[in-house]
């Protein structure tokens, strides 16, 4: 789109991080977008860490079972709770973004957010309790 006049403002340079994550005075949908982006970045990093950690399985029972013992440490479990929040939120909001983004139920996107993220929060609380209890 190089033929369109850019909206560049030399006085107020564009600031992507502020534009995505500064949600002061913004609507619920912007908060949803900011959280979606934040969880996306976290989950992408986690995916590759997870794949790397799985290589421990190739070292046989010693390598893997040692890691399993470490992963039951309370600090690790706390990270699991953070991860669980990221997963359930990204899933729920992702369903909304996918549907709305294809023009399905887009006029009811706020209700969709409340319902899906509400379900996600219940799943998160149940999951978080299970992580520590089990």
């Amino acid at each position: 789109m190089d033929n369109i006049q850019p909206t560049t403002d030399p006085v107020r340079p564009k600031a992507p991080l502020r534009s995505w994550f500064d949600v002061r005075g913004r609507s619920l949908s912007t908060l949803a977008f900011a959280l979606n982006r934040l969880t996306a970045i976290g989950l992408t990093i986690y995916l590759f860490l997870h794949l790397a950690v799985l290589s421990l399985l190739l070292r046989g029972p010693e390598g893997w079972d040692q890691f399993v013992a470490l992963a039951k440490n309370p600090a690790f479990l706390l990270l699991d709770v953070v991860l669980l929040f990221g997963v359930v939120y990204h899933m729920a909001n992702g369903i909304r973004v996918a549907l709305v983004g294809m023009g399905v139920a887009h006029t009811r996107q706020k209700s969709l957010f409340y319902v899906l993220v509400g379900i996600a929060l219940v799943a998160f609380v149940v999951g978080a309790v299970l992580i520590f209890v089990e």
Partner: protein
Amino acid sequence: MTERDIEFKVFRYKQGGAAPAHQTFTVRCDENTTVLVALQDIRRDQDGTLILRHSCHHASCGTCGMRINGREELACVVKVFELGTPTVVVEPMRNMPVISDLVVDMEPFYDRFNAAGMPFIRESEYLEEAEVAEGLETYMRCENCIECNLCVSACPIMGTDPTYIGPAALAATWRVVEEPRGLDSRPLLDWVDSQNGCWRCHVAYECNEACPSGVLPGDKIMSLRRELTKRKFRRLFGR
């Protein structure tokens, strides 16, 4: 009538001058004082160099768009007391170059908006019962968009990418696709089926929140995407 002194923290900048800064003015306001009237008072009584843009004073021209306490608003219909803050922060719209103080350069806006080629008027849906006056085929009304740029200012993606087509032009494009009125909408659909077009939107819906005129640009962007999704599936299955 209650009167109170209200502080206005106003963004000040002149092209070629010092770096932008906020200047504080105190204005005597009552229940009916709008932000636009307060700014005009400042210009008349305190600082004639304060530059702002306005016209109709009743939210139909879309000229006085600005950021008031961090929200995109038409200054002519925002009553100072209803904001409920002792200090009112007034800044120019974002995502367009500042020319002077509260005035932004609207050229990049019109460059996008005009590309859609949306006619200004449409058939009115409000007077279905009325008998059409002699000499008229039907009653017409203006399109909803008042070209105020508030949606563009509020959009987080306009805040990162200077070449995004943006909500106003995308909404205008949907109006042509929805009701072509003799215009060819296929090249327009191709235009917005691009990385700077409707796929760039990340569903933050700030445009809907900011729009003072019921255009709901976010909904229109999603309507474009539904149309394009259908087109892609039809092509995929050779239909």
